[in-house]
């Protein structure tokens, strides 16, 4: 693998005030070596769709950029009988176009509504995970799929549940010299399972006011399993356990879904901001939980 290494010389331009180093390693090991050598002074770049506005606002304090987009091992989707792995540099557009986006509808739907076409062309799954912004659409379906995050670092590789990795608003468990390598999850079994992602965003805003992903499995008209996760209504994309508990073991009917959906307020903690008041978001979340569950139940072969 080649490793491009360049050092900027001379006066910086209007925005490149940090005369930063830029590396484009070809392997995960080489990327990790750079991160270790720069000792917390490096930023990882993939698609750059979140990073560039931060750089331009002067919010990125880094003297080195490690561009992971040329590492073949980080790109692409692998699916075996029951487990799916999505590489960190897989773009939203690529995941939306992949069969997995059809088979796990919530994923495809979330990837298709992120920002706009141009951003989905470059924005990556790993970037969404590593940035830890709870308004990012993709995080809700990944939480509802009980996904795990893969990380590579100086001490080797580790995996941890996404719910543990996302520790707060823009805060993750990633160490400075670690790299997000992939997300993995069990593919919901065929036939009796279904999923959906429903979100609302203000016109002109690519960002979710609230979003809800639901993944359900049915057995004889009864809800066997239900996982519901919400974006943009708490510090992290949270699971709606109260809704799930209210559903599991009961009938997959419209009435049962409506009653369970009201309980979403027990697990979320929205704030007042430009997107809307906390009260509005609580009510919106309830509506989106109901819609996503009804669609997921329908896709699982139920008739709510």
């Amino acid at each position: 693998m080649t490793e491009v290494s360049t050092v900027t010389e001379g006066a910086a331009g209007a925005t490149g005030e940090t005369e930063a180093d830029y590396y484009r390693p070809g392997t995960v090991a080489a990327a990790c070596r750079r991160l270790r050598e720069t000792d917390g002074r490096a930023r990882v770049v993939a698609g750059g769709q979140t990073l560039m506005p931060l750089v331009r606002q002067g919010l990125v304090d880094a003297d080195t950029f490690v561009d992971v987009s040329a590492i073949p091992a980080l790109s692409g989707v692998a699916v075996d009988d029951d487990r799916a792995t999505v590489g960190a540099t897989t773009t939203y557009a690529a995941l939306a176009d992949h069969d997995l986006g059809d088979r796990v509808a919530a994923l495809g739907e979330a990837c298709s509504v992120v920002a706009d076409r141009q951003v989905r062309t470059l924005g990556t799954v790993g970037g969404a995970v590593a940035h830890g912004d709870p308004t990012f659409d993709l995080l809700a379906p990944l939480r509802a799929l009980d996904a795990a995050v893969g990380l590579a670092g100086p001490d080797g590789r580790r995996h941890l549940p996404l719910g543990e990795f996302l520790v707060g608003h823009l805060r993750t468990d990633r160490r400075e010299n670690e790299l997000v390598t992939d997300v993995t999850f069990d593919r919901p079994g065929p036939g009796r399972s279904g999923s959906a992602y429903e979100r609302h965003a203000a016109a002109g805003s690519g960002r979710a006011t609230a979003g809800v992903a639901a993944v359900v499995t049915l057995a004889d008209g009864t809800v066997a399993t239900a996982r519901v996760a919400c974006s943009a209504v708490a510090d992290t994309p949270v699971r709606a356990h109260a809704v799930e508990d209210a559903l599991v073991g009961g009938p997959a009917t419209e009435g049962a879904v409506a009653a369970a959906s009201e309980r979403v307020s027990e697990d979320i903690d929205p704030i007042d901001d430009d997107a809307g008041s906390a009260d509005y978001k609580r009510r919106l979340a309830g509506t989106l939980v109901e819609r996503s569950l009804l669609t997921a139940v329908g896709r699982a072969g139920g008739s709510p």
Binding site: G13, T15, V45, L51, F65, V119, L122
Partner: protein
């Protein structure tokens, strides 16, 4: 660092800080003034260019990433191409007033029609949602792009 890339079919080599935006690199170092500077934060789409054929916002692309790749601006659209057909349709449908957003719209429309030649109006509305126009109210833009899609569908 030094980046070498193809701009509208011509090879260019430029010295640039790596974390500069491609939008600045194109306008200020390469004189590509059709790449408009709008919000510079990824919201307006005025700086949209084709990077290896895909529409991207130049303000969201780190300059270092352009090394070894190909960039097409609205000035690089070849005669007789789908892109030129989109440009002509903008003129036919009066799909612009001040024109500032037009290069971005043309390139976004071109990229989408390349992938989905028979896109309907709703799909086009979504495909163009990353581009902002403050003059037209969008309907004439959609008329123009839809007309190209319909002609392409009829030709098939």
């Amino acid at each position: 660092m030094r980046v070498t890339f193809e701009l509208d079919g011509e090879e260019r080599t430029v010295e640039t800080p790596p974390d500069r935006s491609l939008r600045e690199l194109l306008r200020e170092d390469c004189g590509a003034r059709s790449v408009k500077s709008g919000c510079d934060g990824g919201r307006c789409g005025a700086c949209t260019v084709l990077l290896d054929g895909d529409a991207v916002k130049a303000c969201l692309v780190m300059a270092a990433k352009v090394d070894g790749r190909s960039v097409t601006t609205v000035e690089g659209i070849a005669a007789g191409s789908l892109g030129r057909e989109v440009q002509d349709a903008f003129e036919d449908h009066s799909a612009l007033q001040c024109g500032y957003c037009t290069p971005g719209f043309v390139l976004s429309a071109l990229a989408h029609l390349d992938d989905h030649p028979d896109a309907d109006r709703e799909a086009l509305r979504e495909a163009l949602s990353g581009n902002v126009c403050r003059c037209t109210g969008y309907e004439t833009i959609l008329d123009a792009v839809e007309a190209v899609a319909e002609r392409r569908a009829d030709a098939d």
